[in-house]
């Protein structure tokens, strides 16, 4: 296909603004997929995505379309992931396109993430076609939303398309507009190969399948290719296009979108954003914009049944075959036994991964509360990466602690501005700016410690704005903060599983909450058990678990004796399985409950 008849575009939309439905309509009206084969929202192929209504994995599709000018065009739709955790992936998807549909819900207006992605698309020079969706709804306010797009996104909305994906309205206009407005690709097909990977998946039969956009040159089976970032060299076994299933073809040339199979074993060897070139005739330089994504949120995954550790390891390995942004390494916990410390791009990424392990691999697991990685500078100038509280040096040896900080944009109806500002302040946010998007909507920008964000920011925001706020964030770097390690002492002995890092100002509250929780979780013992929270040597909170008052069930004659002995033996066994801290026995369940506890100290 000649480049002038190719259009590569994507859809930018907020969750629930109808992206998937719109994509389905486009497929239908270009007869790319028969109605009979149509599962609702075909592009969200994972069950989980369909359930949550969000797209995590990109599934591109090639459509043939005969335009009003009588010519046949190829339209490549590259879907984008719809969550803040995947900002980099979105940027790579955009880089594979020349145009984007900006879909906005006619009843809701522009949301934070849509705006962030739209800006990104503008930055990358994409042609943006605004589409107002859901105009069939009685509460739709297209005029208002058009004004918002003009004011906030800065787009000319003279030719905005009013659509209802649900009712199929405006679909024809969209296709025409894509052909008309989105520029055709302009790569040099005779230049050395440069193809950008915008995603890769693992297939049991084919190995890793890279989704690529060919920018310059050509790629065909038999060719030997090189991955410019990782340096890997592989023979091309198959190339093809998305219909939306995999359909092999002879070659992919500049301007085209498709996939390449080349005997790669793990997705870690095919990074999103990497450039594929011809090994014999390499391009002078890779395509711009590549970076290696680094996980920012960490948590421990432990099998519920201790002997299921190997299954968990296998499942994690399989999961990372498909998602190289997850990393994991073995970890041992006094309370939970053997497990893994796993890193994710964000909270949702973590949740989804956990859910996939459960559903796709049948692994029941316990996840500890998420945390971030701190940078600790010790008095002698050494910089330590602290993944867990126990990595922190003694308080006297610490010069400075730095924590990851994000810049968060919140779109909030004016009536909730006060509450959201309070929330941000409670979460140690630093005010950056506030501007009115519309008379009744405000954009708030704060800098927020990531550690505070991942605890329960989403839930709190949702409940305090009744779900009317939307947010987007980006990672902006590390900042020094007055952070301390709070230790928990059980009967005078430090129990490191219970230590945590927090800001000095909230140490008392968090310590109080932790001690109170443990007081409920630790069963009465023969002795009174003091539970203390301390910073360094200084105790800040203390409560006692009262000593056992009564633990005896009376009668014991004849046959009771054996039964009773067995019962006691069982208790003793049970106690052996408990974690001993000094004379105190703490059951496994208490650790689980403590480690899984959502921070609820303010309630």
């Amino acid at each position: 296909m000649e480049q002038q008849y190719i259009r590569n575009f994507c859809i930018i939309a907020h969750i629930d603004h109808g992206k998937s439905t719109l994509a389905d309509r486009l497929l239908e009206s270009t007869s790319t997929i028969g109605l009979r084969d149509m599962k609702q929202q075909i592009l969200d192929s994972l069950d989980l995505e369909r359930e949550r209504g969000i797209t995590i994995k990109l599934v591109p599709v090639k459509m043939n379309y005969t335009a009003k000018d009588g010519r046949e065009y190829v339209l490549n739709l590259i879907d984008t992931p719809g969550h803040v955790d995947f900002g980099y992936e979105v940027s790579r998807s955009l880089a594979a396109c020349e145009g984007a549909l900006l879909v906005v819900d006619a009843t809701q207006g522009v949301e934070a993430q849509t705006l962030a992605n739209a800006y990104m698309a503008v930055d990358q020079g994409l042609e943006i076609i605004p589409v107002i969706n859901k105009i069939d709804l009685p509460s739709s306010r297209p005029d208002y939303v058009i004004r918002e797009i003009e004011d906030v996104v800065g787009l000319d909305c003279d030719h905005v398309i009013l659509a209802s994906a649900k009712e199929g309205r405006g679909i024809g206009d969209i296709l025409e507009r894509v052909v008309e407005k989105v520029p055709a690709p302009v790569g040099d097909r005779e230049a050395p190969l440069q193809a950008m990977i915008f995603d890769s998946v693992y297939d049991n039969y084919k190995g890793v399948i890279c989704y690529i956009r060919v920018i310059n040159g050509r790629i065909r089976p038999g060719q030997t290719i090189r991955f410019m970032a990782t340096g890997g060299v592989f023979p091309v076994e198959e190339v093809g296009v998305f219909r939306p299933g995999f359909q092999p073809c002879d070659e992919l040339a500049a301007g085209e979108v498709g996939y390449v199979v080349s005997n790669i074993k793990t997705v870690a060897e095919a990074h999103t954003g990497d450039t594929i070139t011809d090994n014999g005739r390499p391009a002078a330089s890779p395509l711009p914009g590549y970076r290696k994504v680094k996980p920012v949120v960490f948590c421990g995954f432990y099998p519920v049944e201790r002997d299921e550790y190997p299954q968990l390891r296998d499942a994690l390995e399989k999961l990372t075959l498909n998602d190289s942004s997850i990393n994991f390494e073995p970890e041992t916990s006094v309370a939970l036994g053997f497990g893994f410390r796993c890193g994710f791009l964000g909270l949702l990424h973590m949740d989804v991964s956990k859910e996939r392990l459960r559903r796709e691999f049948g692994v029941e697991l316990v996840a500890t509360a998420p945390n971030v990685v701190y940078e600790v500078v010790s008095k002698d100038g050494e910089v330590i990466e602290a993944h867990r509280p126990s990595d922190f040096p003694e308080i006297g040896d610490i010069q400075e602690v730095r924590e990851p900080v994000i810049k968060i944009s919140l779109f909030v109806p004016t009536e909730y501005v006060g509450k959201v500002m309070k929330l941000c302040q409670d979460k140690r946010g630093t005010y950056v700016s506030m501007d009115y998007l519309a008379p009744d909507r405000v954009r708030l920008v704060y800098e927020l410690p990531l550690a505070e964000f991942i605890i329960d920011f989403h839930d709190k925001l949702k409940s305090q704005t009744r779900g009317y706020a939307s947010l987007d964030y980006e990672f902006i770097g590390l900042k020094a903060a007055d952070l301390v390690r709070v230790d928990v002492l059980v009967s005078g002995e430090a129990a490191d599983a219970f230590s945590f890092i927090c800001h000095r100002d909230s140490a008392y509250h968090r310590g109080q909450a932790a001690v109170r929780k443990l007081k409920e979780l630790i069963p009465s013992q023969l002795f009174e058990v003091p539970i203390q929270a301390s910073i360094g040597k200084k105790v800040i909170v203390r409560q006692n678990v009262k000593a056992l008052r009564k633990d005896v069930l009376a009668k014991c004659y004849g046959g009771d004796i054996s039964r009773k002995r067995k019962l006691l033996e069982k208790q003793k066994e049970g106690k052996k399985r408990m974690k001993q801290i000094g004379r105190v026995s703490i059951p496994q369940e208490a650790f689980l409950a403590f480690l899984q506890v959502e921070e609820d100290e303010e309630k």
Binding site: K550, L553, A554, R565
Partner: protein
Amino acid sequence: MKKNSSRSQKIGSSLGALSGSFSVYIHIPFCLRKCPYCSFFSVPSTPGESEKYLDLLKEEILFYRAFLGKGSEASTMYFGGGTPTMLTPDQWEDLLSFLGENIPISPSAEITVEANPESFTKRHADAWRKGRISRVSIGVQSFFDRDLLWLGRPHDASKACDAVRTAVREGFSVSADLMFGLGGQTLRSWASSVETALELGVEHISLYQLSIDEGCRWNSSPPSGRADGYSFYRWSQWYLPRKGFSQYEIASFSLPGRHSRHNTAYWRRDPVLGLGAGAWGFLGERRYRNEESLEGYASSVRTCGGSVAEIESVSGEKAAREAAVLLLRTKWGISFGDFSNRYGQAILGSIRDTLRREAPDDCFYESRDGLSLTPKGMRVANALWSLII
């Protein structure tokens, strides 16, 4: 049956190896109906069934008589159930005289029968006195109708009073069983039950918290509203000693010299010959159980004389630790001399170390000669035992 036969032979020869005294437990498995919290073996009695059962019991007695060595005699005997008062006074006379003829019983033997208020009569008392019964243990549970209804007992408070009064008047040493931790029970009503028992002249009280074990009806659907037992138990430990009843065991209080010698035999791991369906015994470091169904018991006794269905050998360290736990049920506790003679010095040392290290000081007394639990120790005995088992 072959296995039953060899097991019964084994138990028989253990009995034969005894030279001194032993205890006898006889199980009478009949009940009017089963209480929802009961996990003992019992069946509703039908006429003719009890007659047949007594014949089998006699056969079992004869089987063991053959093993009895010279000079060994029964020092305590206990008829438990079930409901022993489901047997008629005539049946009792018959059974007791048969026992007297076939088992040597010490002249000073303590012989106890469990009696339930709904079926105990003065005629039972007459038959028992003739048969040398000295002690009657009455399943009162409570002197409140409310509690008794809640427990599903077939008697009411006035029947309970009558039964205790009758037994006392007929000259028996009377014990009452009382239960706490019942739904809706208050400390006041519990206190009143205990006081009533004392006023009626009992010399012994067994008090225990309702426990819902495996094998009872309530196990699958426990009743709600059960009271926490602490205050009841604590109060009893304070009140009863003031009335002259000392706590000589976790669940037992008595006037001086009126403790149950039979139960004490269990806690000292003295030999017990168990007879009847579902009965437990302990002979020669072997704990055994008889067949638990009437059919099983019958066919086994008919074919081989005994009916031992299960034997558990308890020896070595296991036996020593079991002994320590049992001895610590009682106020006499562990006597260092006796204990190390029977179970060895090493294990005793280990038990003492564990307690010193892991138990609070106010939970046990330790002297040069022995070790026992304090009242506080008795309240948390389970936690202490699980340290040393």
